[in-house]
Amino acid sequence: MREANHKIQDGDTGDNNILVVKNLYKSFGNHHVLMNFNLELQKGESVVVLGKSGSGKSVLIKCIIGLLKPDKGTIEMFGENIPDLDEEKLDALRAKVGFLFQSNALYDSMTVRGNLEFPLRRHWIHFSQEEVNKRVINALNDVGLSHTIEMMPEELSGGMRKRIALARTLILNPEIILYDEPTTGLDPITSNEILGLMKNIQKKYNTSSLIISHDMKCVSTASDRVIILFEGRCYASGTYEELIHNTDPKIKQFFQ
């Protein structure tokens, strides 16, 4: 099973990869969070990074989107190395990437409309007001919450906020969506709804998804491939079915 992982570490990137993380290191003082971590994401693929709480999953995803700078290693997205990009180039690249925060991170001083229009701000020049409205309505329709357009985030339930946050990630039609613990803190029914939405969105827009999670329901439902992050490294990689039958005790502990 772990041979799949060796292929990544050897640096075989393949042609269809839109995200390749190679030999990534990140430490905070003496605390080494990521140590020689490797990952590949192909077009249209959905990869779940599974790991215990505090194992560095969120650090990984923040390095990928450029919110944190890695100590060493490369993160190639659409052929560009993220840590090398200046502010302007990074912003341009981020337009192709959606990011769903664990806490949703909705702007609480703005209405739902304001939240959805905000990512378009940088692109006002390219979008007419008509186009902006169309995109907002379409994104809200995708998550089934078009009636909330003039509501404030505080008026929404936890599940609705998650769906609005998901709509906001869709507003620029991203090619990759990064999900940071998308089902954490949600009840099982809402959690299933969010997972269903994620699947529908991936099918409809042919996006690639990188999902950070420790929720096994999320892993089994949303993954084409699972990567186990253990002690800062990519410990194993494979499909959910392959990993669940693995006898390695370190892998087994995740599926018990």
Partner: protein, 256 residues
């Protein structure tokens, strides 16, 4: 020689605030100022502070006049009351008290707002959506605070002098015209201009400290509270330090 830990922390903090201020100047002179957000902040920081500033200014003028009157009568210079009150309000009390009220209201609200945005990942969300959060949040607020405080000081001075006129008339009779004539006869441009110019620095101090504290807020609600609190304390102390420097400079330039 070893430095006391408290001193080391103090100098580190001073260094960080200076770096933050440097970043502010760098970002301010970059193209594309967030005009809409800047005007919104001018409305919130300036217009919405006016009732509080006006009320305190009115009481300050009234009380100062009533407190001064007995001493003025003792020395037989009661007729000079409007002139003395006018000088003290315009040169010192007006700008400093208004700036302190401003620090309490605006410093804490900026610190708490940005602090809560930081801990709920809203600032990260802005960055991910391709908007420079520093330019959007910090530059607009610091500029608005810097420009709005002098306006509030001018209005506060006028309201304060109106309060003083009422104070004069509680125990005596002085016409509105005579009161203002006495005030303007004694005032010189060298009284008004330094006081007006130093209020720009007071506003900048409140804005930059509030933003610095909020933007660098540590995780959790306790951190937000601390940011708001220390924004008020530090900016209030800074107001006095700036005032001390301003009086030295104006004396050196021959204004006093």
């Amino acid at each position: 020689m070893t430095m006391l830990p408290g001193m080391k922390l103090f100098f580190e903090e001073v260094g960080d605030v200076s770096k933050f201020a440097g970043r502010f100047f760098k970002q301010t002179f970059k193209k594309r100022l967030e005009v809409t957000e800047f005007l919104r902040q001018c409305f919130i920081i300036g217009y919405k502070s006016l009732p509080l500033v006006g009320l305190t200014a009115f009481i300050m003028g009234l009380v100062l006049t009533m407190q001064l009157r007995p001493s003025m009568i003792t020395y037989g210079v009661e007729s000079q009351l409007p002139a003395i009150v006018g000088i003290s309000i315009i040169r010192e009390i007006g700008p400093v008290i208004t700036a302190l009220i401003f620090a309490g209201k605006i410093g804490s609200s900026i610190g708490a707002e940005l602090g809560s945005m930081k801990v709920t990942e809203q600032i990260d969300a802005m960055e991910v959506s391709g908007t420079n959060p520093f330019r959007y949040l910090v530059v607009t607020r610091v500029l608005a605070a810097t420009l709005m405080l002098p306006v509030l000081v001018l209005l506060g001075d006028a309201i304060s002098l109106f309060g003083s006129w009422i104070g004069v008339n509680i125990q005596g009779v002085t016409s509105f015209k005579l009161f203002w004539t006495q005030v303007f006869n004694i005032l010189l441009f060298s009284d008004v201009l330094p006081a007006f110019f130093k209020s720009f620095f007071f506003g900048f101090a409140v804005g930059i400290v509030g933003c610095y504290k909020g933007y660098n807020s540590k995780k959790g609600t306790e951190g937000v509270g601390r940011s708001a609190n220390s924004a008020v304390v530090i900016s209030s102390v800074l107001i006095f330090i700036v005032d001390l420097l301003a009086v030295q400079i104006t004396t050196a330039l021959g204004f006093n």
